[in-house]
């Protein structure tokens, strides 16, 4: 059974007579800069979307709630609660009373309407700059099945985020991770999939074999991960829809730490022979492998640059665990981590500008980012054990896992802005580790 990927119809609504005068058209458009880390979130109002028929009532309420949670959760927007609203929106096409929204200091206003037709859900929305009394961009309409109503919220949130920040969003995305259960010495681990906000959890493997460090293919239809299914660590490729899986290529020895190339045609991973781990690149279609490093050191955790030309990885060739960059075809590598302590799990940002990493120093673990030449190191978190950063599709947010100490210690997934602000726990039904974020869904 192959599930068809959902197609969203997206239509620009006629932005007609309803827009009030262009009185403030000469002022700068409403825009929030997120580069420096937002200290004062932008206040917005999102009155419950108008239900245009009876069947749409529940969807309208739930959709609005998820939309508000997306925006608030980003840390750069703040919702003005509905109790403070003066105006009610009961007709999507009626003129907006800007003074009512200005009075409660809502800088942005999102209005929307929802209707249900059979198993189809139709969502329309508009975004307004309240103080300029003008629409920001055209109205948009999304059509999808009712089952995927949460994705409609995320799509609207991405559109709003994009118009207000000038950057692409990250809400319509998924995370593959390891669901953990049971006592610390005998953890059961399953591969799991969820929406970026922790909703719609689905398990992709049973708990018979230990599974580790999954990562998405660029189109998020496949997951590459390490499993003990055959008795020792091997790299498997799994189709998310069919759940069919196979060992990738010829792996005579222990294989681990896989990650896709940006074009999805190759996987870079570690193979360990007689205790020596080196980095190989494997062609997904043919299984043919090419060795990229050749040293007695531990060489692992490889990650491609978004243009596919370079690979960042960790090695202890200099004596301790540090981060290096080499050409995607191997050869000489340049060490880029220079601070105190050990550095591992490097991941190249989808924007290409930064490398996220785990740092171990004086008994503490940190998630951090640095430029691709190793300069401007910035630590974003600190705890007993923070590990394994993964980038949001737009390179503005990181997820990682935090494990608590002691006999009852257990991992949970957290997210944090690349600025170090807005640390949040992602709620999951079980303990959770090794998150890997998809790109924006299509």
């Amino acid at each position: 059974m192959i599930k068809r990927i959902l197609t969203f119809l997206c239509t620009v609504l006629a932005s007609v007579s309803l827009m009030t005068t262009l009185a403030a058209a000469q002022s700068k458009p409403l825009r929030i800069e997120i580069t420096k880390g937002v200290i004062e979130p932008m206040p917005f109002a999102v009155p419950v979307f108008v239900a245009e028929n009876a069947a749409a009532g529940k969807y309208a309420r739930d959709l609005t709630k998820v939309l508000a949670a997306d925006l608030t959760g980003s840390g750069i927007f703040r919702e003005i609660p509905s109790a403070a609203h003066i105006s009610k929106i009961t007709n999507f096409n009626a003129p907006v009373q800007f003074s009512d929204w200005k009075a409660i200091n809502a800088q942005a206003l999102i209005t929307g309407a929802v209707s249900v037709s059979g198993d189809k859900l139709i969502v329309k929305f508009r975004l307004f700059d309240v103080f300029a009394q003008t629409a920001l961009g055209d109205g948009l309409q999304f059509v999808a099945t009712t089952k995927s109503w949460r994705r409609m919220s995320h799509k609207v949130a991405d559109a709003v985020y994009s118009r207000l920040t000038g950057e692409t969003g990250y809400f319509d995305s998924r995370v593959v991770y390891i669901a953990e259960e049971g006592p610390k010495g005998k953890r059961k681990k399953r591969l799991a999939l969820m929406d970026y906000d922790g909703a719609n959890v689905r398990y992709l493997t049973d708990a018979k074999a230990i599974v580790l460090s999954p990562r998405f293919s660029p189109n998020a239809r496949e997951v590459i991960f390490t499993s003990y299914e055959t008795g020792s660590p091997r790299v498997f490729l799994l189709n998310v829809d069919t759940l069919k899986r196979r060992i990738l290529g010829d792996q005579p020895s222990m294989a681990f730490a896989p990650r896709f190339s940006p074009d999805g045609r190759k996987v870079v991973m570690s193979l360990s022979e007689r205790g020596n781990s080196d980095i190989y690149v494997v062609d997904v279609a043919s299984g043919q492998k090419t060795r990229l490093t050749n040293s007695p050191a531990i060489e692992t955790a490889p990650s491609f640059s978004p243009d596919g030309s370079k690979i960042v990885f960790e090695s202890d060739r200099g004596g301790g665990q540090q981060i290096y960059v080499m050409s995607a075809s191997g050869g000489a590598a340049k060490r880029i981590s220079n601070g105190k302590g050990r550095y591992g799990t490097p991941v190249w940002s989808p924007r290409g500008d930064l490398i996220a990493f785990t740092k171990l120093n004086e008994g503490r673990f940190h998630i951090g980012v640095m430029r691709t030449d190793g300069s401007r190191e910035k630590l974003l978190s600190a705890s007993f054990l923070d590990e394994g950063p993964t980038w949001s599709p737009n390179g503005r947010v990181l997820m990682f896992f935090r494990e608590t100490a002691g006999a009852n210690g257990a991992p949970s997934i957290y997210s944090v802005d690349v600025t170090g602000r807005n640390l949040r726990k992602v709620n999951t039904p079980t303990f959770a580790s090794d998150p890997a974020w998809s790109g924006l869904l299509k």
């Binding site: 010495g185 005998k186 230990i210 020596n276 781990s277 531990i298 692992t300 591992g344 171990l360």
Partner: protein
Amino acid sequence: MTNILIKLSTMVVLAVGLTACGDRFPGGAGGNIGGIQPGSVNDPTSLAYFQQTIGDRVLFAVDQSTLSPEATDVLNGQANWLLQNTQYVVTIEGHADEQGTREYNLALGARRASAVQNYMVSRGIADNRVKTLSWGKERPIEICSTEDCWSKNRRAVTVVSASLGS
């Protein structure tokens, strides 16, 4: 003589059983030789003796895979036992404590297991009798988060099983 025969036949049964499940087993067999309970910790051919008297594991310093003098003492005992009990093969299982990243620790566990494997081979154990497996930090034996536990988790455990060919 009868006792020995019984013991041998039991061993064969045991070995067959093992081949089927491929797992560790408590070891030993029926019968009683010279007052020593076969299979008990006092029977030098038993797995209990291997595990408890010789010791089935060696420990490592933080982020290291070099063998300490204590470790080589234990491994000398293991190697001698394997030279005398040729019906067995071993898997060296390498582990790391939780103070490291997951993938690095997988590689570190492999390196530790390999250090033991190389030493065993240097002591005359045939290469094909010693396999390795890394668990990284996935299977701590002690679960507290202090050096007390971590020092016991940084280990390589020699897991004995019956050889297919014996």
